[in-house]
């Protein structure tokens, strides 16, 4: 059962190794001539005004929270979708009610303007 996942693990490791090897070859082959200007952060030719890790809009945070809610929903739907034929009408209506509650929340956040991005 779990042994069928061994190739997957090895594939991931090979993918990681491929990236490491490519970047290593590059660092060996390519010249290294660093200077002050080359190593400074790119900002259209200006000296960087301030630290680049600045404050950002709270809406990104809001989107992230909404994402977690919906992604959890999808995680719940996955097993339900696979066995829908076995669990019959009760299973179907249970998920309809669950989706209904989610839709009510979705309409609420829509009306509240959480999805606006002017």
């Amino acid at each position: 059962m779990l042994t069928s996942y061994l190739p997957v693990l090895i594939f991931i490791l090979v993918g990681f190794g491929l990236g490491v090897v490519l970047i290593s070859i590059n660092n060996i082959l390519a010249p290294h001539r660093p200077d002050e200007e080359k190593l400074s952060p790119y900002e259209c030719g200006f000296e960087a005004f301030e630290d680049s890790r600045m404050k950002f809009d709270v809406r990104y945070y809001l989107v992230a929270i909404l994402f977690i809610i919906f992604d959890l929903e999808i995680a719940f739907l996955f097993p339900w979708a696979v066995v829908l034929k076995q669990i019959g009408m009760i299973g179907f209506w249970a998920m309809v009610i669950f989706l209904g509650i989610l839709v009510v929340g979705f309409i609420y956040e829509w009306k509240k303007g959480a999805l606006e991005w002017e």
């Binding site: 069928s4 996942y5 190739p7 997957v8 090895i10 594939f11 991931i12 090979v14 993918g15 990681f16 491929l18 990236g19 490491v20 490519l22 970047i23 070859i25 590059n26 660092n27 082959l29 390519a30 010249p31 660093p34 190593l39 400074s40 952060p41 790119y42 900002e43 259209c44 960087a48 630290d51 680049s52 890790r53 600045m54 950002f56 990104y60 989107v63 992230a64 909404l66 994402f67 919906f70 992604d71 999808i74 739907l77 996955f78 979708a81 696979v82 066995v83 829908l84 034929k85 076995q86 009408m89 179907f92 998920m95 309809v96 989706l99 989610l102 979705f106 829509w110 999805l115 991005w117």
Partner: protein, 361 residues
């Protein structure tokens, strides 16, 4: 006993043999994949060139055939020889880790892709769940790159990209649930087997809105035009990879194209019947070309190539979306449509609507 390669092979311990066989199979997938990536870049430049009435790359090449064919090789050599700049303010460890993570996520997903009936590296029963999980990891590469670069443009690109990718991932996830409902399995091979038959039997017809939304979300997930605000050359220079040079940049590029091919192949597998032929009945009767008309890996390749062409066509045709339009499309159009269609599919599955949902489990 003389040491021949065969006896040496037989004397190896069992686990080592298993790993070596797996590594050999991985090579068989990875080499064609990397070649496809290389020649997809050439195809992109050629096709967009033709659409814009230009020639595209037409210089690099030898043996006198079709000039331009060696362009990807020349590009690779050039990238390898270019200096890998370590920006002074960057967090060096995360800076070099970010492209590697992006590549790992884009390449690792190929482990569970079936190319033909039984032609798959790992026939795991939670294939689609694994795909959803590992393609989600791709966004980490972008966020880490933006943060570690410690450059304003990079951070802006990473923020945009993160919000965009998670918005479209929800629509994508709902579309996948629709496929699961229709196929009743998480295993990609069984999802294709559930579509056995001709064009009418494939899932694109009953799941049509999900099919369209899945592919468009896929374009947005891979940060391709018209959703490429994470790079947005005209606004934030190159976005999250503005500080990368040499192979750091090339590895991001590699990851992006591998992810494009992945999305195209997944769309073909889940909605267009994978390796099934559009001529199920005429296939065996026709002499000579009957084999070609039957099911096989060549159909999967053709369908994948079709979606890849759509990618390039979109890029040449559509102007870039504005950021608020992208968010509106993802949250206010795709998510409501997918939720409604999910219920439609669930009802159809419960009602065993032929010809898609009336087969026994």
């Amino acid at each position: 006993m003389p040491e021949t390669p065969l006896t040496l092979w037989a004397s190896l311990p069992e686990p080592l043999v298993t790993v070596l066989v797996i590594l050999f199979k991985i090579t068989l997938i990875l080499v064609p994949l990397l070649l496809s990536v290389a020649y997809l870049t050439l195809a992109e430049r050629k096709i967009i060139g033709w659409i814009q009435v230009r020639m595209g790359p037409n210089r690099v090449g030898f043996f006198g055939v079709a000039k331009g064919w060696a362009q990807p090789i020349a590009d690779l050599v050039k990238m390898l020889m270019k200096e890998f700049i370590w920006p002074r303010k960057a967090n060096r460890f995360l800076f070099v880790l970010a492209p590697i993570i992006a590549l790992t996520a884009a390449v690792g997903a190929w482990a569970v892709i079936p190319f033909d009936d039984g032609l798959v590296l790992a026939d795991v029963n939670a294939g689609l769940l694994y795909i959803l999980a590992i393609t989600s990891l791709g966004v980490y590469g972008i966020i880490i790159a933006g943060w570690a670069s410690n450059s304003k443009y990079a951070l802006l690109g990473a923020m945009r990209s993160a919000a965009q990718i998670i918005a479209y991932e929800i629509a994508m996830g709902f579309a996948l649930v629709g496929v699961l409902l229709a196929a009743g399995s998480l295993n990609l091979r069984e999802i294709v087997l559930a579509q056995q038959g001709g064009v009418i039997d494939w899932f694109w017809l009953p799941l049509f809105p999900l099919f369209v939304i899945y592919f468009i979300s896929g374009v947005a997930e891979t940060n391709r035009a018209p959703f490429d605000v994470a790079e947005g050359e005209s606004e934030i220079v190159a976005g999250f990879h503005v500080e990368y040079s040499g192979m750091g940049f090339a590895v991001f590029f590699l990851a992006e194209y591998a992810a494009m091919i992945l999305i195209a192949a997944l769309t073909a597998l889940m909605f267009l019947g994978g390796w099934y032929s559009p001529f199920p009945d005429t296939a065996t009767e026709t002499p000579m070309i009957g084999v070609l008309l039957g099911p096989g890996i060549h159909w999967l390749v053709l369908k994948t190539a079709f979606f890849l062409f759509l990618y390039l066509w979109f890029r040449a045709t559509f102007p870039r979306y504005r950021y608020d339009q992208i968010m509106r499309l993802g949250w206010k159009v795709f998510i409501p449509v997918t939720i409604v269609w999910l219920l439609v599919v669930a009802v159809a599955v419960m009602g065993e609507v032929p010809p898609w949902f009336n087969h026994p489990l």
